[in-house]
Amino acid sequence: MFERFTKNARQTVLTALRIATERRADKTGPEHLLLAVVAVDGTGARLLAEYGVTAASLSGALDAATQRAGLTDAEISALRSVGIDADEVFRRIEQAFGPAAFDEPTPAPPRRRRGLLGGPFDPQARKVMELSLREALALGHRSIGTEHLLLGILRQGVSGPMSTVLSENGVSYDDARRRTLARPHHPA
């Protein structure tokens, strides 16, 4: 499948692996692929820029979520309802340990399956790449570019804070697909 990837798409996959390592993630997931798409100067990034989604807005959302220990607004308000001010907890943790205090990988299972079935990508990221191939084929494009990776990511979905950034900026699978169709396809 990788032989059908454009130069930019290959660069994106490598960048995703690097980002996951930098963020000390256990596996590379769709959210790392999305951060990579927006970081590599390609059709996918240009498409996202049309919506006003930038590398800064996406990683900013991730960092903000990290500062809140990954808790959602709903979870924070549920805590408030039983008398716990989570925001105050976060404020004190940040005061004592800095803004990246919660930025740690989730505990890994003791024995991880590596090898052909495992590898550096989580199942959702592998699905994204499978979907991106399907998107390219469905659009009649001969190669898989960063725009197809982006469509694969949108189809698969990303978790939490980044999905909020996407929806707030009006990025949806259907709309992005429509815009991709409207563009001339120049494999690079």
């Binding site: 220990a69 990954g70 808790l71 709903a74 979870e75 924070i76 549920a78 805590l79 408030r80 309802s81 039983v82 008398g83 716990i84 989570a86 907890v89 943790i93 340990f97 205090a101 919660f102 740690e104 990988p105 505990p107 890994a108 003791p110």
Partner: protein, 72 residues
């Protein structure tokens, strides 16, 4: 908004959905706080046994849970 009246909080917690979600969120928060505090204790040179005693769990439990993500 800053200080919701106690009655409001009590009403919220009386709803099973809200109450259970609060418990789930608290569990998540506890896990995150534990990770931060264990890391900090290790950084201050605390032994696993001392950390386990403070947490009220066995040394094995705390080591198995945190050793792989603590930079020694």
């Amino acid at each position: 908004m800053d200080n919701p009246p106690d009655l409001t909080a009590a009403a919220g917690a009386a709803d099973p959905g809200t109450g259970l979600r609060a418990v789930a969120a608290l569990r998540k928060l506890v896990e995150q706080l534990e990770a931060v505090q264990v890391r900090n204790a290790r950084a201050h040179g605390w032994a696993w046994q001392a950390i386990a005693d403070s947490l009220g769990v066995t040394r094995q439990a705390v080591h198995q849970k945190h050793a792989h993500r603590t930079r020694d």
